[in-house]
């Protein structure tokens, strides 16, 4: 092979391992999932017959699926605004000079250092209605795991806690990148903090905010692990999300076809929401 040819091939060679991994762990399973969702699949995982959109029809009339769909959308609706408000608020408050400010930043960042499963186990302990510390501190007897509203609230809180480290980090570095001169000018011109925030900081951190928004929506639509550990979908399916139901059907019950159908539906739904958000980007977000 001559040198010219090698140079031409080299980029493809370099990209090959990544492509092979992506094919093996992303694209192939994805296509298999779609095919499974259009077939009958036995307990042993063998496709036995092609049934078209039969599984989708059955899924949409399934009471459990209707609960999961509404729970997932409700969770997304509660979680995304709460999370962004909390993280942005924290980032703004920590965005100042001083020794204590950096200490605060460390604290806000700490949740990232705790593994998801262990932190969820701790949540479970803390919110135990009879021996947990939360009810003791609040002097209440809220049945965190038996009351559907409380369980959903708890799940949203857990979600925010899990995401705060990463989102805080992004937002706080975005806020620091707002040019000092502009802030000084706005200060000189007599702008109050609210005006500075809405007219100056917000547009400049727009791209980061959009990224966080997209990421949060994705996290919320796909939430399953905290559900699995914290509430197990209960009480009364009030926290059973789409991906958790997919886990129940696919892994616990061996209904692979139904599990695959749910996976495909979740993918399509999330994909559509992402596209809508990205169209927002074109209209509303300005890059420096």
């Amino acid at each position: 092979m001559n040198k010219q040819g090698l140079i031409k091939i080299k980029p493809y060679l370099l990209v090959l391992p990544a492509l092979a991994l992506a094919f093996l762990f992303c694209y192939r399973p994805f296509f298999l999932t779609v095919i499974n969702s259009l077939s009958n699949v036995s307990l042993g995982g063998k496709r036995t017959a092609f049934v078209g959109f039969d599984n989708y029809g059955r899924l949409f009339s399934n009471a459990s699926f209707q609960d999961s769909l509404s729970n997932t959308l409700r969770f997304t609706l509660f979680f995304v605004p709460t999370n962004i408000a909390v993280c942005l608020g924290a980032a703004l408050l920590c965005n100042r000079k001083g020794k204590l400010a950096s200490l605060n930043q460390v604290f806000m960042f700490l949740p990232m250092a705790v593994a998801m499963s262990s932190s969820m186990m701790m949540f479970k302990m803390m919110f135990n209605p009879s021996i947990g510390i939360m009810n003791h501190l609040l002097n209440s007897d809220i049945q965190w795991f038996s009351d559907p509203k409380a369980a959903m609230f708890l799940l949203v809180m857990a979600g925010v806690w899990l995401d705060i480290g990463f989102d805080f980090l992004l937002l706080s570095s975005a806020l620091r990148n707002v040019p000092k001169e502009l802030l000084e000018v706005s200060n000189l011109e007599g702008a109050n903090p609210w005006q500075t925030f809405t007219a100056l900081q917000l547009p400049l951190i727009g791209p980061t905010l959009l990224f966080i928004l997209v990421n949060n929506v994705k996290d919320a639509m796909l939430i399953s692990a905290p559900v699995l550990i914290l509430t197990e979908g209960g009480p009364f399916r009030s926290t059973q999300t789409l991906v958790y139901q997919m886990y129940l059907e696919g892994f616990k019950s061996g209904n692979y076809a139904l599990g695959s159908t749910i996976a495909t539906v979740v993918f399509a739904l999330t994909f559509i929401i992402m596209l809508l958000l990205l169209s927002l980007e074109r209209k509303r977000v300005y890059y420096q």
């Binding site: 059955r58 135990n128 049945q143 009480p235 009364f236 019950s253 692979y256 076809a257």
Partner: protein
């Protein structure tokens, strides 16, 4: 170019040792056979299981050159999920020699090619299976063969706050759901603001309770056809056509109407032990744990599981779990059998019973002096045993596909009836439709 070839060399170097890593770990002392046992015993149960394993390893296991390695794999449902994952991957060498599973796993495992029937192992050893309790044996019998060894067997019981009952002037615990409603109302306590500070009873019925509440009506009835799935894969539910569900739901709604029932789905033990709930139903295996949780806050009593009505004379079923032997290609099933034999021997079942509250599955335990001395000192344990002895052994647990969905279908359906004020009839019809849908799906996929 040079850089690239260096990188490639490095990758090759790094990749090669991983090949060796796979072969490692299989080199072991030839003489001692290690048996792996996956279980789900945590807390007090975990301690008791560890004690049993170490007694085996230092005693009979040492003589026979068998060492048991017990691995806690999480809750019973987690053990099942992990075992099933290996079945599906087809790499049966990863399977443990023994696995402890509850009834929700039977359907997934009973026809599996890697399951070694316990009855076959017993026959090979000329072991007399008659020493195992009839009801316990039937609880793991499929197609006339005992596929597993009952190990942690339990029944469902009524737990009550004896102190609270005495304060309310009630001398005997409720026998039927009607009496339960009356008693619960008397036990309910509210503060000045009208807020309930003590509920009479807490429960949301799911598969576990309904097997009995539906099953013990009119002698014995089953939730599904195929005798609750024990003779084949169930194809439809029976509770609507035989009327058992409606009878039960009518009683349940009456109980809820008293305002003394709390729809509690989790931490019921905690609520009971703290005194916030005066009565609950639970497994006999919780006896020791709940007793410890209560401490000296109040005196606890247990009684037979309340009957739906006076005609509900079927008793209770044997729940809990059993040991399954699996074929992982190591040909150790005879050695695994030694441990199974040990774990269900009369002495070990006695120790297990005392430590946990599970009842002994070995008949011979019941005639031991130590057993009867323990029973006299701890009369609560006797209630479960007498209840089981009075039960119809044909009343059996439910082996059903989509067990989790069925569980939540019951829970959600019954709650809806209570809070949305639906009639028992409507609820029965919608439950029948939903669960039959799961059964149809399963048959459609696995025809």
């Amino acid at each position: 170019m040079k850089k690239l070839s260096i990188v490639l060399c490095l990758i090759a170097l790094l990749a090669v040792p991983s090949l060796f890593a796979q072969a490692k770990g299989e080199v072991q002392d030839q003489k001692i056979t290690t048996i792996t046992w996956w279980h789900s015993n945590s807390g007090l149960l975990g301690k008791a299981a560890d004690a049993m394993v170490s007694e085996f390893n230092t005693g009979i296991g040492k003589e026979l050159n068998i060492q048991v390695e017990s691995v806690y794999q999480g809750k019973s449902s987690d053990v099942l999920t992990k075992t099933k994952a290996i079945f599906q991957s087809g790499s049966n060498s990863e399977l443990p020699d023994l696995v402890q599973l509850d009834a929700s796993g039977v359907l997934d495992i009973r026809d599996n090619q890697y399951l070694i029937s316990m009855e076959d192992l017993a026959k090979k050893d000329a072991y007399d299976l008659n020493q195992i309790l009839e009801a316990a044996k039937l609880s793991v019998t499929y197609k006339d063969s005992m596929i597993a060894m009952p190990f942690n067997s339990s029944t469902i019981l009524l737990y009550y706050n004896k102190t609270a009952l005495e304060e309310a002037g009630i001398s005997t615990p409720p026998r039927t759901l009607d009496e339960l409603a009356e008693t619960a109302l008397k036990l309910k306590k509210t503060d000045e603001k009208g807020k309930t500070i003590r509920y009479g009873f807490a429960n949301v019925p799911t598969t576990y309770e309904l097997i009995v509440w539906l099953g013990h009506q009119n002698g014995v009835t089953y939730i599904t056809d195929q005798e609750n799935g024990h003779t084949g894969i169930p194809t439809k539910v029976l509770f609507a056509e035989n009327g058992t569900m409606e009878t039960f739901l009518t009683k349940w709604k009456k109980l809820y109407a008293t305002g003394s029932l709390e729809n509690l789905t989790s931490d019921v033990n905690g609520a009971f032990a703290s005194g916030r709930v005066a009565m609950m139903v639970g497994s006999t295996s919780n006896l020791t744990t709940v007793h410890q949780m209560i401490g000296d806050r109040f005196e606890m009593g247990v009684a037979a599981f309340p009957m739906v009505d006076e005609q509900a004379n079927g008793g209770v079923n044997v729940g809990g779990g059993a040991l399954y032997a699996l074929d992982n290609g190591s040909n150790n099933s005879d050695k695994a059998w030694e441990f199974v034999k040990f774990a269900t021997s009369k002495e070990q079942q006695l120790a297990w019973h005392i430590a946990t509250g599970y009842f002994p599955v070995n008949r011979d335990t019941y005639t031991m002096d130590e057993f009867n001395t323990h029973l006299e000192a701890n009369p609560l344990y006797g209630v479960a045993i007498r209840q089981l002895q009075a039960s119809n052994p044909k009343l059996q647990g439910l082996w059903i596909p989509s067990a989790y969905q069925v569980y939540y279908a019951f829970q959600t359906g019954i709650l809806k009836m209570l809070v949305e004020d639906k009639t028992p009839k409507e609820t029965t019809v919608s439950l029948e439709k939903e669960i039959n849908g799961y059964l149809e799906d399963f048959l459609r996929m696995n025809q």
